[in-house]
């Protein structure tokens, strides 16, 4: 595996391979000194063209625990604001000698473009509305950690599907592993031709809760009101927010997940955040573990490719 751009590139086998590697790094993270020399001498460039403190610190923590060096690049402090092309920016960073580029970009497809220009491995840390494969991998890890079997697992993803890279990648990951995915949103927050994504669709959160094993909530953004996609956050919360009443309709064994950061009072009521079924902090912990596995597999196999031409 040279790059990790989308879940589709991995397939079920690729996901399983990463899960197995993550199991051993979970053990590493339990140690008093949670650090291994696996990537000593490797340089990981962290190129965030869009701010994201969580994903960035998660990747950087993962890289440090593998003893890799980190080269930091932020769009706000860079020549990107001076009109430099993406290709020029990437070639400049690569000329400094990097083995992997972790890229977050507000434009869909930017990691695909970068992978065509760069010799280094490219890991997609989220691109536009398109994909966020490491988020999906940590979500799979979190569900799997609970001993759940994906075959036939009923997962509902509720919220702004249209503008969500997490939704697109998670639909791919969950369905690849055999889960049944239902998207729950008002029609204005579903993309056109939504059926092409391979999930079922509902506009009625109350109707599906009793038959849901995992409820995955997405972050609702203020600008959707300005675009007249929903009337108000208040109405959104009433129709699609996880209120205490709705939480009671979910099975006791269900899991409640969210990629963060949560909008308390919008997609989830404040009192539900503390529900024992919520796995949000496990997701964050697992993010580091899974990203260690991804960095290790990408850089490990790339090194092997170079030594066996």
């Amino acid at each position: 595996m040279k790059d990790l751009l989308t879940i589709a590139d991995l397939g079920a086998d690729g996901i399983h391979e990463i899960m197995h590697a993550a199991d051993s790094f979970a053990e590493v993270c339990q140690r008093p000194i949670p650090k291994v020399p696996a990537l000593r001498g490797k340089t990981v460039a962290s190129m965030f063209f869009e701010d994201s403190t969580r994903t960035r610190t998660s990747f950087e923590t993962a890289a440090r625990r593998l003893s890799a060096d980190i080269l930091n690049f932020s769009a706000s402090s860079s020549s990107v604001n001076k009109g430099e092309s993406l290709r020029d920016t990437v070639e400049t960073i690569e000329a400094m000698g990097v083995d992997a580029i972790v890229v977050r970009h507000k434009s869909s497809g930017a990691p695909q473009q970068i992978s065509r220009w760069a010799d280094a491995s490219v890991i997609n840390a989220g691109d536009g509305w398109h994909a966020h494969p490491t988020q999906s991998l940590l979500d799979v890890y979190t569900i799997r950690e609970e001993g759940r079997n994906f075959d036939g697992l009923r997962i509902a993803i509720a919220g702004d599907i249209s503008h969500s890279r997490v939704a697109r990648s998670n639909i791919e990951a969950f369905t690849t592993l055999g889960a049944e995915v239902t998207l729950v949103a008002p029609p204005t927050l579903l993309p056109p031709y939504v059926e092409t994504l391979g999930a079922k669709v509902s506009h009625d959160l109350d109707a599906i809760l009793a038959d849901t094993d995992v409820l995955y909530l997405l972050r609702m953004q203020n600008e959707r009101m300005d675009q007249a996609l929903v009337p108000s956050l208040h109405e959104y919360h009433r129709s699609f927010g996880l209120t205490p009443d709705r939480a009671r309709k979910l099975p006791a064994s269900a899991l409640i997940m969210h990629p963060g950061p949560m909008n308390r009072g919008i997609e989830i009521s404040p009192e539900v955040v503390d529900d024992p079924r919520v796995r949000v902090l496990n997701q964050v912990t697992n993010g580091v573990i899974v990203r260690m596995a991804v960095l290790y597999l990408v850089l490990g196999s790339a090194a092997a490719d170079r030594s066996n031409p």
Binding site: L86, D88, S108, G128, T196
Partner: protein, 433 residues
Amino acid sequence: MSLFIHGGTVIGSNGAERSDVLVTGSSIVATGLDLPVPNTARHIDATGMVVMPGLVDLHAHLREPGNEEAETIETGARGAALGGYTAVVAMPNTAPTIDSPSIVRDVLAIAEGVPCEVVPAAAMTVGREGKLLTPMGELAAMGVRIFTDNGRGVQDPALMRSIMEYATGLEAVTGGAPVVLAQHCEVEALTAGGHMHEGEWSTRLGMGGLPAESETLMMRRDIALARRTGARIHFQHVSTAEGVDIVRAAKAEGIALSAEVTTHHFTLTDAACSSYDPVFKVNPPLRTDADLAAIRLGLADGTIDCIATDHAPHEPHTKEFPFDQAPPGMLGLETALALAITELDLPIERIVELMSTRPAEIAGLSDRHGNPVEAGQRANLAIVDPNAEWTISGTGMASRSHNTPYEGRTVRGKVQYTILEGELTVDEGKATR
């Protein structure tokens, strides 16, 4: 100077037939077999080739004035000649906009002596801002026949109605020739935030889409306004199946209307965007297989009048930005004829109609372009080997830019000679100037 073109198949008023052609000065002086040939004539062996009227493109962006790094009138004209064109209508979305007599004069002065006739279209609204009328009367009086805000459509229906009404009065200054209002049909309120066709692919790729209705709503509006005003309208780059149906129905109703499609809309679909390579970004966007099939049908059944290139050069680095930041547009002049021959299952006579005869009529150039290859006509010709195969390469083009979406594709149909006013602008496949 005479040219004796022998051995070719000639597209005359009775269709394609074996004939020789004798050109003297800027005119065709004789066609037929066993022609008396002057000793000094240059002999051109057209065996196995088609001798056709030079092609006419209703829609090219030559970028000059204002963006000469991407293309100049000269390099664009050279590419056009290599593509078999003898006349090209230059879009007015330059900097400054072609919206006044002095800029039209500038463009014509720059175009003096380039290897293809360059015919400036002028904007309908000042600066293409969609607010005030350009001096259409003055522009029409100096010969402008096509008005367009191309790159944008006129959004305000009241303004569009006014443009149409005003245009119907301009025959007073054109000597009866109609002024053509060429619309780029795009309701911008529906395309804001869009970068490719809104469809299954945009959903999968997580990209904002341009829905088909952004084109068809404006087409329906303009047909309604044309029905009322009697203005002569032309739809640029029709890209949707519904758009083709709208044109078919409006023509059946008797609306004075013509329509073009681009080469890329009958050869490529939105699936090409899955690589996120901005070379496939264009406006209107590449659409679906069903749209492509409807466009091909429209070309075959006569609904669509012509093939245009929408030749849109962009400097290489501008296509090395993310897809949503890169400018839309692709090269077309040097590849359009070969793609039409290769991809369309149409007789060569129909291709000539689509790429020469009809566009010449629409642009008001029929006194010198787009006519049957016959004695008495002006010698604006293309000589094409319809079976010669070649491989498209962006860097091998005359254009200053390289943004062809067909890089590496092998096509059939090579322009070997182009003749402008009796002079070779392309000789054995090479530009002469």
